[in-house]
Each structure stands twice: as C-alpha cells, then as structure tokens.
C-alpha cells in the first residue's frame, strides 16, 4: 500500500498517466485513419439527394443499398475484378518461381561472374518503374502485347527484392550438408532444387507471394498505358474511369469505391498478421 501511494508524482504518472496519454494519442490517430472509410461507407448507403445536404450528416436518413446494383450496372466491375485477379495471380506465381530459382543459384553456388550478376539484379532495383516505362511500352507495342494480360502483368513478373529475399533465406537456413547428401544419393541439381529447396522455402514463399500480389493489384500507371479497351481494365483503372464519368455522383462513386476496397479488405482481415509481417520485411532491403 505504502509503495502505491508514495509515488503520487512520477510513479503514478508512469503507471496510469503514460498509458492513458498514449491511448489518447493512438485513438485520435485511429479515428482519423478510419474516418475516410466510414465516410465512404456511409455515403454509399445514402440516396443521391442526401449527399448534398448542408450541414452534412454522417448517417443516412433513408438507408439504401440501391447504389450498389446501380454502380454494378453502370460499369463491368466484376470483369475488372477478374482481370485484377488474373494479372495479380500470374505475377505472383512468376515472381515466386523466378525468385526461388535465382535465389537458390545465388545462395548456394560459386561460379565465375556470380558477384557481377547479383550486383546487376540489385542495382536495377534502384531505378523506379516510372523512369523506364516509355521504352518498356514501346517493347510491348512491338510485341503486340497492348491490351493483353501478359503485357499488363509483364513488369510484375520479376522482383529484385524477391531474389534477394530468397537468396538470404536459402543461404542462411538450409545447410550445405543436406545438398551434399542428396548429391551422394545421385540427385541432379534440378532435382535438389525442386524436391529439396522449394519445400523448405514455404515461409518466404508466403511472404513474397503477398508482396508480389499487392504490388500487381495496386498497379495503376502501367495498366493505364497498356489497357485501352474497357474489357482489359483492372479494378483500379476501371474505378478511375468510372470516376471521370460520374464525377459528382458521390453516392454511386462511394458504392463503387467500397466494391473496389472489399477484396483487399477481406484479404487483410484474414491475413492481417502475415501481411503486416511481409510488408515489414521490405525493411530488410536497406
């Protein structure tokens, strides 16, 4: 008892004041993080005339879900969604495959030119995509890949960071003896890769898969250049063109925006911890 009361000054402050102040700060921050979502959701449930009330109301007076079917009728959002899925899944599979193979080779072998080749891969990551998209666009044009899935997915099929990540994992956590034992048993290098290395990389595969998927899903400027036909739009691009048509109809825009947010939101709710860990992993880059 004496101890609890003796420290009314700094002791009390440490025990109660600091956590309370911390929670206060974090709560205010949380509200500002969540507000745009709440406001968008509320607007999507209002009839058109309630979006232009002054003063604005947070909650609808007459609740309605009619904006959702109207938005779905006005633009093929289901098709956009499927396009996003196709491009993102293809990109994810290819990033994982190329990163595993290159990561294995750079992590477990010595050969002439190794350092130079690895340096090339890392150095190319210093150039942001926006700086070389013009020649890349010309390449795609000459291949006839405009308005094709392979054209839209192409830049997302390799990731320098993915190769780096796999190399780190394979070099540090798979012992050399395991590979030698397999060689003694007569396994070829390819077989070692497919049967031994790939199954032992499930955790970095998961992390890298999440990163690659998010990267492709969030792509905007490249699909904007590559997809000129509406049936090839991905969700982001589809929503932005929808926005230019229904500029002031915020009840419809909000419904469409909610529809475009939901897939990622569901993924985030299910895989919250894995996603945060994967993205935090990019901090290893430096």
């Amino acid at each position: 008892m004496a101890e609890r009361h003796s420290g009314t000054g700094s002791g009390f402050w440490q025990r109660v004041g600091v956590p309370a102040a911390s929670h206060g700060i974090l709560l205010i921050g949380s509200l500002s993080m969540l507000f745009p979502f709440v406001w968008m959701l509320a607007t999507s449930l209002k009839p058109a005339d309630e979006t232009v009330l002054w003063p604005p109301r947070l909650l609808p007076i007459h609740w309605t879900v009619a904006n959702y079917p109207t938005a779905l009728d006005a633009a093929p959002f289901i098709r956009y969604f499927l396009n996003s899925v196709v491009v993102s899944v293809a990109a994810t599979v290819l990033v994982i495959a190329t990163s595993l193979l290159a990561g294995f080779i750079f992590g477990k072998y010595e050969f002439p030119g190794k350092r130079f080749l690895f340096l090339v891969i890392l150095a190319s990551a210093m150039f942001p995509f926006e700086t070389y998209m013009i020649p890349l666009y010309l390449t795609m044009k000459s291949l006839g890949w405009i308005n094709t899935y392979q054209g839209i997915a192409a830049p997302y099929m390799i990731m320098s960071f993915g190769i780096f990540l796999m190399r780190q994992h394979i070099a540090h956590s798979i012992p050399e003896e395991l590979l030698d034992a397999a060689r003694v048993d007569g396994a070829s290098e390819l077989k070692i890769f497919l049967r031994l290395i790939v199954p032992l990389c499930s955790s970095p595969i998961g992390a890298l898969g999440i990163l690659a998927f998010i990267q492709a899903w969030a792509a905007f400027i490249w699909p904007l250049l590559m997809a000129t036909q509406r049936n090839m739009y991905m969700m982001e691009l589809g929503l932005s063109t929808f926005q230019f048509r229904y500029t002031a109809d915020y009840h419809l825009l909000s419904a469409a925006a909610i529809l475009n947010t939901v897939p990622m939101l569901i993924a985030f709710i299910i895989l919250r911890r894995r996603i945060i860990e994967s993205v935090a992993l990019t901090g290893l880059k430096g």
Partner: protein, 319 residues
C-alpha cells in the same frame, strides 16, 4: 534393324561431357553445377534484359532523340531535349511541386510515424489492433481512397470544409486550384503512408536490445535524453531506409494526383503538375517520347542522387 539402346544414345553425350570436363579442367560434379547455374540464370537474365536493363538503357538513349511516336523521322538531337526542359515552365513547375510534395510528405510521415512507433513500443494493450488500423490505408488500393478523400475535400458539400466552418474558416476550394490541391494531396498521402513508416520503425525499435536502455538508465539518462542518445543512433539504419524509400515513393507520386485533380468537373483548372504526370502527358498524350524520356532521366538522376546523399549524411553523422 536393331533398335538403338538407351546406353548407345547416351554414351556419346557422356563422353562429350567428359571431354569438356577434361578440357576445362574440372570434375564432373563441378561441371554439372556450372551447367545448372548458367542454364538456370539464362531465363532470369533474359527477362531482366527485356523488362529492366534494356528499357533503362533505352530511356537514356531516347532522351537524345527527337522521338515522336507517330512521326517517321526521329532525328538525333544531342542535348536539345535537356536544354528545352530547362526553359519548360510545365517541367520546372512539376519539379518544384514534386520536390515540395516530397519534403512535406516525407517529413510529416516520418516524424509522425516515429512518434506513433515510440508510443506503440511501450507495450500497451491493443497494440495489434492499433497496428492493423494504422496499416489499413497502406493496404487498401489508392484509387478508391483518392475518391473518398476527394469527397472529403469537396468545396461545396465536403465534410472538411464543414468542420472548418466551426472555426470560422470560409469554404476552401481544396481541389480547384493547383496551389491548394497540393496541400490536399499532401494530407491524403501522409494518411496513406503513415502506417508503413510506423510499422517499419516499430520493428526497428523492438530490435534495439534492452541492455542499452538498462545501461543508460544506470547512467541516469531518461526521457528525451535517452531517446536522443540511445534510440535515435541505434534506429539510424532503419530510419535511413524509411526516409529513402519514402522519398523515392514521393517523387513517383501519380495515382492520387491523377484521380483527384485531373479531367473532371470538380477541377476545371489546371491539374496539379508533378513529374510523373508531366512524363505521362508528354509521352502518352502528346507522344513526345524522346522529350518525356529526358524528363524520366532527370527523375532517375534526382532519385539516385537523393539516395546517395541521404546514405552519406547519415553515415557521416554516425561517425
């Protein structure tokens, strides 16, 4: 006719590899390892060449040409594109805007992210929930979020102007003039990236061994002094990374600018000019691809220079 046996088919190949091994003075295991490495890397480097290395090189090459998409003649013009950039008002404005944007977004998101990370590192309850909430804007796609913010910033019916009216502020046309739109985009972008910086810095803070703090508190350090002397120096590598990556991302800002300030009735005025938008417009709307490539080269050089400078500054500070 006797069917050739498998052995008789394989035998010449085996003798050939043996000969090669002898020629290259290596045993067969080493030879097969080399084969695997180079054969495996061929497809990887073909992809790298087509999708990264060649386009990067060609950006530099194109920047020396008057390369117009639809004109058949594409003459070499030396540094003319760069000279033209130097007096191009749109480009200079974009350069100024992007730099201003980067300074404010990086400054605000790193300082706020660090503050939040420090608060969260204090082992509070609900830490996981706070992390998820602050991370939500990072993970949600940019376009729907830009639309949500556009509605918040709406000049006539926007909730932000309504909230400001309580403090006697007259309605602000947030997105109607580029000067004000800049601040709207900055606010929106800080909101979007804050959680990423916070999470990375939190990981960095948690990785600082407790012994440092214990030793410092024995020496009588606490509070701000502890933060200044122990936390900041030990956090330096991850802090540097966060600053570099935020700066690079900020210089490449495009999507939110495109959605919130271009081509709609809400923004009849000029769009907010940023570098990538200018590259996009010159290259893909005016088809001046050589000129746009010169802009891209300038953007590349800025980003490379900033990365090197920041690494240098932090390293010197640490010595």
């Amino acid at each position: 006719m006797v069917e050739p046996s498998v052995e008789s088919l394989v035998a010449p190949v085996v003798t050939l590899t043996d000969r090669l091994c002898g020629l290259l003075r290596m045993n067969r295991l080493t030879f097969s390892k080399y084969c695997f490495c180079y054969l495996g890397l061929i497809p990887i480097f073909v992809i790298y060449w087509v999708l990264r290395l060649e386009p990067i090189a060609r950006t530099f090459i194109l920047s020396f040409y008057d390369w117009h998409l639809v004109r058949p003649l594409k003459p070499f013009v030396g540094l003319a594109n760069y000279r033209e950039l130097w007096s191009d008002e749109n480009f200079l404005l974009a350069l100024k805007n992007t730099t201003l944007f980067a300074v404010f977004v990086v400054g605000a998101s790193v300082v706020l992210g660090l503050a939040l990370a420090v608060v969260l590192a204090g082992n509070l309850r609900l830490t996981a929930a706070y992390q998820a909430i602050y991370f939500l804007p990072v993970i949600t796609p940019m376009v729907p979020m830009a639309i949500a913010w556009k509605w918040i910033f709406d000049a006539r019916y926007g909730i932000l102007n309504y909230a400001l009216s309580w403090f006697g502020v007259h309605p602000i046309g947030w997105l109607t003039s580029p000067d004000v739109a800049m601040w709207a985009i900055i606010i929106m972008s800080v909101w979007k990236v804050l959680g990423y910086n916070m999470i990375l810095l939190l990981v960095g803070l948690k990785n600082i061994p407790a012994v440092y703090y214990e030793a410092a508190s024995i020496d009588g350090a606490a509070g701000w002094k502890m933060f200044r002397r122990i936390t900041l120096p030990l956090l330096k590598p991850i802090l540097l990374f966060v600053i570099v990556i935020s700066t690079i991302n900020a210089y490449n800002v495009f999507t939110q600018v495109y959605v919130m300030t271009t081509g709609s009735q809400a923004a009849p005025g000029a769009p907010l000019r940023v570098l990538v938008f200018d590259i996009y417009q010159n290259g893909f709307q005016f088809f001046k691809m050589g000129y746009a490539s010169a802009e891209a080269v300038v953007l590349t050089l800025i980003i490379l220079a900033l990365t090197l400078i920041q690494m240098r500054v932090i390293r010197m500070d640490g010595e």
